[in-house]
Amino acid sequence: MPEPNGPPTATADPAPEYLVRVEHLKKHFPIMRGIVWQRQVGAVKAVDDISFGIRAGETLGVVGESGCGKSTTGRAILQLQPPSSGRVFLDEVELTGLNESALRRVRPRMQMIFQDSYDSLNPRHSVGRIIMEPMVVQGIMEEADRRSRMAELLDLVGLNLNHAVRYPHEFSGGQRQRINIARALALNPDFIVCDEPISALDVSIQAQVVNLFEDLQRKLGLTYLFIAHDLSMVQHISDRVAVMYLGKVMELADRDDLFDDPLHPYTQSLISAVPVPDPKLERNRRRITLQGEVPSPARPPRGCVFHTRCPLAQEICSEQAPEYREVLPEHFVACHFADRKGGSKISV
């Protein structure tokens, strides 16, 4: 069995079961000081040494609070922001280190859907033109074929051909997100990074769009990296879930294992903090309330990045970063005490 967190040599032969593999991915943004003679005085460690794999046809949910690096992870995988170090594979193709033209040839296989459905659509282009643009850029198909493909895509996402001549501002948020999805599907991708695609939508519309994502996955065999901060939605849509904190993956497991038996203290606190829409349950609920807020990723704490807020923190936590390892089958945790039974459980 391949170990997603193993050293690169261990995974030299590509694991067939993963469509996307991420190995020791890092994305650091330099902090510069000085106007004329700029020098680097530090780095924001937005993503700091993470490894995981995404299986073909599954949805990997990524959750975490703002600044945990979940969006940067998505962008770094797609090479929209080239990683500082580490390797990313799509099937057998290593994306890291590819030059522009080689990257462009792989791009049709991987797409992205953004949170802000309005900002990600050109307001001066008609919807039809927006959806056909990827085909134009890739230089595939004749004009007439593009048009019929566009009509097909509109139908696929629940819009109709009349919408093609309209402009983005004429649509509601939910419809605009459908346009974004149609554009992302234009080139028949295998893998889509969904970066908080439903966060800006109202509850009744969220459900429509989530259902659309699920239908498309079933129909087209898509693989999703689904980034969100809404835990209950991630639980709904994901097959496996990764929890991030300050640029690190704290825990990654099958969604049922993660939500039923979270091993990392941060995952436990996060789940405990989410309000449940049931007044009786809410009243009798004992919450783990974390103290303070997320530290700055420019100056992450030494040792385990979570130790400043962790109710179980010991001396070792502030000295030594815990290893991210497979504690139970297919259940990865970065906590010193996760191996001992109940060792990393917060009691309330």
């Binding site: 989530v210 901060h229 996060l270 989410v274 309000p275 809410e282 919450r287 309330t289 807020e293």
Partner: protein, 332 residues
């Protein structure tokens, strides 16, 4: 329990270049002493406009409050908030009714120290001199859980984190011992772990000071945890009012039912589809002539299109604006 606020038939419209926006179409509700009333609804449903109308916080023009009354039980007799003169409004705002805004960063003055902003409100409403006001400010900041309140008195808003800024907002809102605090999506911009802290803080303060809280939110999870009663808004109308337990167990408006069904459930089976409400909210520029939810409603029938439904009582303290009886599965 005694009433502290009674709002009747509030109608607010916006007169824009594009036409008239019917933001509120006759909203009525009340608030009791010491309770928490949650107002839920989607964007554009009129949650914030309701509260801002009461406190004259809307820019006029384009806004105009056309009808309605809002009786606030002040210490020396009831007053209608909608008929106050300008100086009276200032006395009520911040003094009798505190307001917590969603976006603390834009609600706080960026070029004024946090201490001074809290102090300003105190000096405006309570007759304290500068020194005493400063003392009270520091006490308040400590009370809302700002570590090192004394040394942070002279800090500016940008030096605080999101959660800490929201605590400052709460300090401003409760600075002058208000009767009512209106919390307008106070935790929407915050991360869940910080949201949990702020909710806990608000509950603690409410218990200590015995204030009534109106909590505006779109998150039905938050509502379940904080509210005594819930007001559900849709397209400028209060479509359902109910005690919190009853609303979740037994929603009596198709919109509420749809909203609750659209939430992903904890422990639900893998691959189960979410129920969704088809369509999207109506254009508020159309004057409401019938039930505004009829387009999206699975139960709609001829009467729904003939006139807007009145408020039916369907249980103790439970009201709904719907012609269809969901229990009996037939029109009322």
């Amino acid at each position: 329990m005694s009433r502290i606020l009674t709002v009747k038939n509030l109608v607010t419209r916006f007169y824009t270049f594009d036409g008239v926006v019917h933001a509120l179409n006759g909203v009525s509700f009340h608030l009791d002493h010491g309770e928490t009333l949650a107002i839920v609804g989607e964007s554009g449903s009129g949650k914030s406009v309701t509260m801002m109308s009461l406190l004259h916080l809307l820019p006029m023009p384009p806004a105009r409050i056309e009808e309605g009354e809002a009786v606030f039980e002040d210490d020396d007799g009831p007053i209608d908030l909608l008929k106050l003169s300008k100086p009276e409004r200032r006395r009520v705002r911040g003094g009798k009714i505190g307001y917590i805004f969603q976006d603390a960063l834009s609600a706080l003055n960026p070029v004024m120290t946090v201490g001074r902003q809290v102090r300003e409100s105190i000096m405006e409403h309570l007759s304290l001199d500068q020194k005493a006001a400063r003392e009270r400010t520091i006490q308040l900041l400590e009370h809302v859980g700002i570590p090192g309140a004394k040394s942070r008195y002279g800090n500016y808003p940008h030096q605080f984190s999101g959660g800490m800024r929201q605590r400052v907002m709460i300090a401003v809102a409760i600075a002058c011992d208000p009767k009512i605090v209106i919390a307008d999506e106070p935790t929407t911009a915050l991360d869940v772990t910080v949201q949990a802290q702020i909710i806990e803080l608000t509950k603690r303060i409410q218990d200590e000071l015995g204030i009534s809280v109106i909590w505006i939110t779109h998150d039905l999870g938050v509502v379940a945890g904080i509210a005594d009663r819930v007001l559900v808004m849709y397209a400028g109308s209060a479509v359902e009012i109910s005690p919190v337990d009853r609303l979740y167990e037994h929603p009596q408006h198709p919109y509420t039912e749809g909203l609750l069904a659209a939430l992903p459930r904890v422990g639900a089976k893998r691959g189960k589809r979410l129920a969704s409400i088809k369509g999207s909210p109506p254009d508020l520029q159309e004057p409401p002539r019938h039930c505004q939810f009829a387009w999206r409603c699975p139960y709609n029938f001829d009467r729904c299109w003939a006139s807007a439904p009145p408020l039916f009582e369907v249980g103790e303290g439970h009201y709904t604006k719907c012609y269809y009886d969901m229990d009996q599965e037939r029109p009322r």
